[in-house]
């Protein structure tokens, strides 16, 4: 489902406002072949609260998948 380039080994983070949407995002990425997990490091996100979906793989593909699932990404790290 996504390219296997060198950058795929890098971890990206999508900051998402709620735990429910973060888990939903994680599960959707996993169903699309990504290695993904949920974490919370609010000082890093600088957005009050929120969770991040941390994943390895192509950033643009992952972003498109989550947008198609109506998941709002508040920040990409």
């Amino acid at each position: 489902m996504f390219s296997k380039g060198v950058d795929d080994k890098l971890e990206h983070k999508f900051v998402i406002g709620s735990i429910t949407y973060a888990i939903r995002g994680r599960d959707i990425l996993r169903n699309n072949g990504f290695k993904a997990r949920v974490e919370r490091k609010t000082s890093e996100y600088k957005s009050g609260c929120g969770y991040a979906v941390v994943f390895e793989g192509d950033l643009e593909t992952a972003e498109r998948i989550l947008k198609n699932a109506n998941i709002k990404i508040t920040k990409t790290i």
Partner: protein, 373 residues
């Protein structure tokens, strides 16, 4: 005690539900959505799985639309006070519970009551249709009356709402988990549930499934989102879950749905309808008994039946049954509408609501007591 008050809450909780609650208390004691540590995320994932089960059961758009509330009444209040303005017109049925009537009466100036015909869904639909005005914003109605058991023609009402651009909210405290409810097929925008009834879950947690936005909250506070903002967010589901949710209850709901799915909702419903018809047939042969509905048919009624005994108040009859080992509910069942419709606003009625787990022996013992009326 023979428990015939399952419309109030399911009398017997399955062992799997009890186990899920106990497991939660022992192993899932972290606050979901409030921390980044593993236990918190684990519990949040478990809660999410229950949202998924609820969404799948009612064919909703997804777990993100499923919010946990204090109870079904709380969910209904979120819908009425969060969506409607005082100048909106709303249509309800003449069988509504006070959980709909009271918040609506407080929120809008103008609402109308459609007549539910016990033996004719087309007439019921026409009654709803005839009340639509230019400013009708919502139809909110019960899935099944908590007094008469009458199931409303939800699919037909939902189709009409879609055709006319009216929001459709359903109070499924009584029917949820028992009668077929399909959010997409019935065009339901807001579905409010009491899982302690149809899903045999613990009391004290309700469910709101919102397929459309709710613009205002009625309770504000911490919900794990936007902590640095003074304003409450209205993002589903957490925007409507301020404060800590009851994780043990939610785990009980998940186990309850598994239980219903394992046995089969249809199988449970059919058996409960067979039992309610046994009661109906028996009572209809007693000249002293007053019945208010036709013989309950599958698809048209939920397993709930109300009656009175000539010359006695409903509470007297309920007390008599209690003394003879049978739990039923007399009185008014928190439904001014239904009792006005039945003409029982002065005496109330005796309500029977058996569970599918009622044994043949319990049924026969109950019928033997009923002969003493």
């Amino acid at each position: 005690m023979i428990y015939l008050d399952n419309a109030a809450t399911s009398g017997i909780k399955p062992q799997t539900v009890i186990n899920a609650v106990e497991r939660s208390m022992k192993l899932l004691s972290a606050n979901p959505g409030r921390g980044g540590h593993k236990p918190s995320v684990t519990v949040a994932t478990e809660v999410y799985k229950v949202r998924e089960k609820i969404s799948n059961f009612f064919n909703a758009s997804g777990p993100q639309n499923v919010a946990f509330c204090a109870n079904c009444t709380h969910a209904i209040n979120f819908v009425i006070k969060g969506v409607l303005n005082e100048n909106d017109h709303v249509i309800i049925s003449d069988l509504e519970h006070n959980a709909v009537l009271r918040p609506l009466n407080k929120t809008v100036k103008d609402y109308s009551k459609a007549t539910v015909f016990f033996d004719d869904n087309k007439k019921t639909l026409e009654s709803f249709r005839s009340l639509v005005k230019d400013n009708t914003k919502m139809i909110i109605c019960t899935a099944a009356s908590n007094v008469t058991g009458r199931v409303l023609p939800l699919k037909a009402i939902g189709e009409m709402c879609k055709e006319k651009g009216i929001l459709f909210a359903v109070d499924a405290a009584q029917g949820g988990g028992v009668i077929p409810i399909d959010i997409k097929e019935m065009n339901i925008d807001y579905l409010c549930l009491a899982p302690h009834k149809g899903f045999f879950a613990p009391m004290g947690t309700g469910v709101l499934i919102a397929e459309k936005p709710i613009n205002n909250t009625i309770i504000e506070g911490g919900n794990g989102m936007n902590s640095l903002s003074v304003n409450q967010n209205t993002d589903l589901p957490e925007g409507f879950e301020s404060g800590t949710v009851s994780v043990p209850n939610i785990m009980g709901i998940g186990a309850g749905i598994d239980y219903v799915n394992k046995i089969g909702r249809e199988k449970i419903y059919v058996k409960e309808m067979r039992i309610i018809n046994e009661f109906y047939d028996h009572l209809s042969k007693n000249d002293k008994v007053i019945l208010y509905t036709p013989r309950p048919k599958i698809g048209e009624f939920a397993p709930v039946l109300s009656f009175n005994v000539s010359g006695k108040s409903s509470e007297e009859v309920a007390d008599f049954l209690d003394k003879n080992g049978i739990a039923v509910r007399g009185g008014f069942h928190c439904s001014l509408c239904a009792h006005e419709k039945l003409g029982t606003a002065d005496v109330g009625a005796v309500r029977l609501s058996p569970s599918f787990s009622l044994t043949q022996n319990e049924l026969l013992r109950s019928l033997a007591v009923f002969k003493k009326f």
